[in-house]
Symmetry: C2
Subunit: 488 residues, 2 copies
């Protein structure tokens, strides 16, 4: 066993997502063999007495390999592997993870995986994993923990930690209060850097992502920040108040996490102090939380555009159904409404059947063109680039661009219509309807996000359903209406 | 002028994106007034001799207000304001920015804005702005700078900096080499922390985002990393080699920036060393660059889904046309092909006109359902969750989910078809075609990204056009084909 002890000769634990992916493939391979052995042994179970023995041997071997594979990884990589396995295999692997990693892995895994891990742990394991967590970390897990475990863990907290836990639980998940932590270094402004250095040397370690320490007065009011860089390059005899910076960003616990992320991005921050309305330092947000917020927001956007929420790719099929069906039903309703609108022109279509094949082109291009406009407007709104002064300019520009693209595109569409119908009037109706529907797309693409943003809603959500609804129904109406007026 | 000098009484420069947004609104307001004065003076130019005088006075006042508004901001906020203005106003404001901020603002602004700023600067300004930049920063600007300025700036570089510039220019923009910088602190492993602390104290400042310093040997081979936290909490008499960490992530300059971003996210890094194939330290990537990469990737994805590239919302209309038209023309082609497929069933449709209104529902739902599958698969591929072992499982699951959603959804659609056509056979054809087309959507949604990923291409790009093409054309074919077989 000597070689498993950490020693100078031991190779580094490499941090590398690609290694984690290779480890995942090997874990899956081992699990497959494991299942195969079980199957074979099960097959010959009755005839052969050595069955259970062989099975036991093989199992132990597989298990040992899996154990060493998994426990050699960084907790974030263990979390990745657990997220990438179906529930039963995930729980099998989770039981092989050394308990010292339990806390870190539980904090790393995605929300939709955590519950399935906690299910397999008994009360003692859970208490052991959570009792050394920080208050803000416990707050993140509270939703998943059984009440008796929470009670037990709370007993072990100091009065201050319990107050922090209650505070952290009081903020919404997507607020600065929901992502802040309480670990930070505070110093007074009337001491020298030498005193600060000696104070730091007495700590076992600094909180993760400490790039600056906070200068506060007796009542915890924030007076300035002292970056480690400033601390290290200045004369130790300098006083904190003479070298600290007073140009800094502060966050309010009620700010949204997206606002915090925007500020971190713009000013390239690693950490930022959170102060309450009276200017008192109550917490700290770090770049690690912010990167998670940015990634989650981007994932959420991609998923919500397809009408879904985050989904465990190995969740039971019924849960996936619940996730996806509502959006499809909504789309079915809008498509049916559009079909109903078109069916009002049954006489026209039965006279000129080719209209039936051209009308979906008109509807589709209007939707695609409107989607381009909407994507741009949503982005401009997201970064705060749209103001009262320039909103009108933007709208005018979008209409002009759409009109020009429409002129070019509808000419091509008109040629197609002429080719398929051998009728110039039909081609002209096609051109007019297509330009008209693209302008409808531009109008909806501009208005819906702007109106939603004006009322404080997320401009992205639901916009695309409304857009498709408008360009489908009105596209059909415009095209078949014009055809009825001029062709029949 | 005394009050503009930085003094202890001067209020902090607040870093706050909301302040920058307010400043933007005020800048726009001032610009509007400025334009109004010009217009009024122009109107009465001939009749009134005081015209030019009033104009001059008003202009100076507006200009002074604008100047102090803008120059009071963080360079990143100045960049935000410049990005949010049309070209002429942008250039007007840019001329008011103090030259000491020029370099920072040029580095902060988006690519599509930089060119319009550089256009307004003369050679001396440009040389002054760039000559104090780091080699990696100059490399980022090279594409936008006139050749004579580059030559001039190169003359001012040391031999080492010139080598770094050439190295930085040699890597693609989206590689680790393209985002790394060369500023970092290196120490040897055979010195004490006290020596390191004294060495740091001799620096004017540490490079931005220094959370660790790098331990190298005589030939610059990386031996370990020493976090500032370790440096600060340990006894100054400890030797570097005894406290440095050897568990760390290294990047290769040829890794993609997306791989680096994935690693930073997973391991919560602030900086990471870049080493060449021989293990020698050549650069460093920081979280600030990584956050930009994450944000740009997410923006690019959102835009490319709508068939666009990053666009200046105030760019000339013709440039916007070039950006948007190709995608719309491509969609026009696929929609026309689908229409052509449908038109082969003209006889059937002229017999049963209601098919014309139902066929777009079949096509639309297939596309939406396939889009859900594709979104999930693209995400699973992006995080490396799809392996040879589980690919088949994922495919089976997607088909099962789609089949179940299809059964439920097509029942509703069948009811609608029955209501609108009063024909049970039509409703049955509708149900069969819809389930079939949803399965086609699932097949394309799974296969296209997986095949693209297998050949090392970005699974997201172009997938949605192919999906719509398949579900439209095959949807029409399936529905009208079944109708021709069973109803005519």
């Amino acid at each position: 066993m000597a070689e498993t002890v950490s020693s100078p000769e031991k190779p580094n634990r490499r941090l590398d997502p690609e290694d984690a992916q290779l480890a995942l493939a090997r874990v899956q391979e081992q699990l497959r063999r494991h299942a195969l052995v079980e199957y074979l042994v099960h097959q010959q179970e009755e005839g052969d007495e050595r069955g259970p023995l062989v099975e036991g041997l093989m199992h132990r071997q597989h298990e040992q390999e899996l154990r060493s594979l998994v426990n050699d990884l960084h907790p974030a990589d263990i979390a990745f592997i657990l997220e990438s396995l179906p529930k039963e295999e995930r729980q099998l692997i989770w039981q092989m993870v050394q308990s010292e990693f339990d806390a870190d892995v539980l904090l790393e895994v995605a929300d939709w995986v955590r519950q399935s891990l906690i299910e397999t742990m008994d009360r003692a394991d859970l208490v052991a994993a959570t009792e050394n967590m920080e208050a803000d970390e416990i707050a993140d897990l509270v939703a998943n923990l059984p009440p008796d475990v929470i009670a037990e863990v709370q007993k072990g907290l100091t009065v201050k930690e319990r107050a922090q836990l209650i505070e952290a639980m009081g903020y919404p998940e997507d607020s600065v209060g929901g992502i802040m932590d309480f670990e930070m270094v505070r110093v007074r402004d009337d001491v020298s850097l030498e005193v600060v250095l000696r104070y730091l040397r007495r700590q076992p370690e600094l909180p993760d992502h400490t790039d600056q320490i906070f200068v506060v007065d007796r009542t915890d009011r924030l007076l300035g920040v002292l970056s480690l860089s400033t601390l290290l390059v200045n004369d130790p005899d300098s006083m904190v108040r003479d070298v600290m910076s007073t140009d800094y960003l502060t966050l309010n616990p009620h700010d949204t996490d997206a606002e915090a992320a925007g500020a971190f991005e713009r000013y390239d921050l690693v950490s930022a102090p959170v102060v309450d309305d009276r200017g008192r330092l109550i917490g700290r947000v770090t770049i690690a939380d912010v990167v998670d917020v940015i990634r989650e927001d981007s994932d959420e956007q991609a998923l919500s555009r397809a009408g879904m929420q985050e989904e465990d790719i190995f969740a039971p099929v019924l849960r996936a159904l619940r996730n996806r069906a509502p959006w499809l039903l909504l789309n079915l309703c809008t498509a049916s409404t559009a079909a109903f609108v078109a069916s009002r022109f049954e006489d026209t279509v039965s006279h000129i059947v080719v209209l039936a094949f051209l009308m979906s082109i008109v509807a589709g291009i209007g939707g695609n063109s409107g989607n381009q406009t909407m994507t741009l407007i949503i982005r401009a709104l997201a970064v705060g680039r749209v103001t009262n002064q320039n909103a009108w300019q933007l709208v005018k520009r979008e209409f002009l661009v759409t009109l020009l693209v429409g002129l070019a595109g509808s000419f091509v569409a008109g040629l197609f219509a002429w080719w398929i119908s051998s009728s110039i009037p039909i081609a002209l109706v096609m051109i007019a309807a297509m330009i008209g529907n693209m302008l409808i797309g531009a109008l909806v693409g501009v208005m819906v996000p702007m109106v939603r943003a004006r009322f404080g809603k997320d401009p992205a959500i639901g916009s695309s359903v409304l857009l498709t609804f408008a360009t489908d129904s009105l596209g059909f109406f415009l095209f078949l209406g014009l055809a009825t007026l001029f062709l029949v």
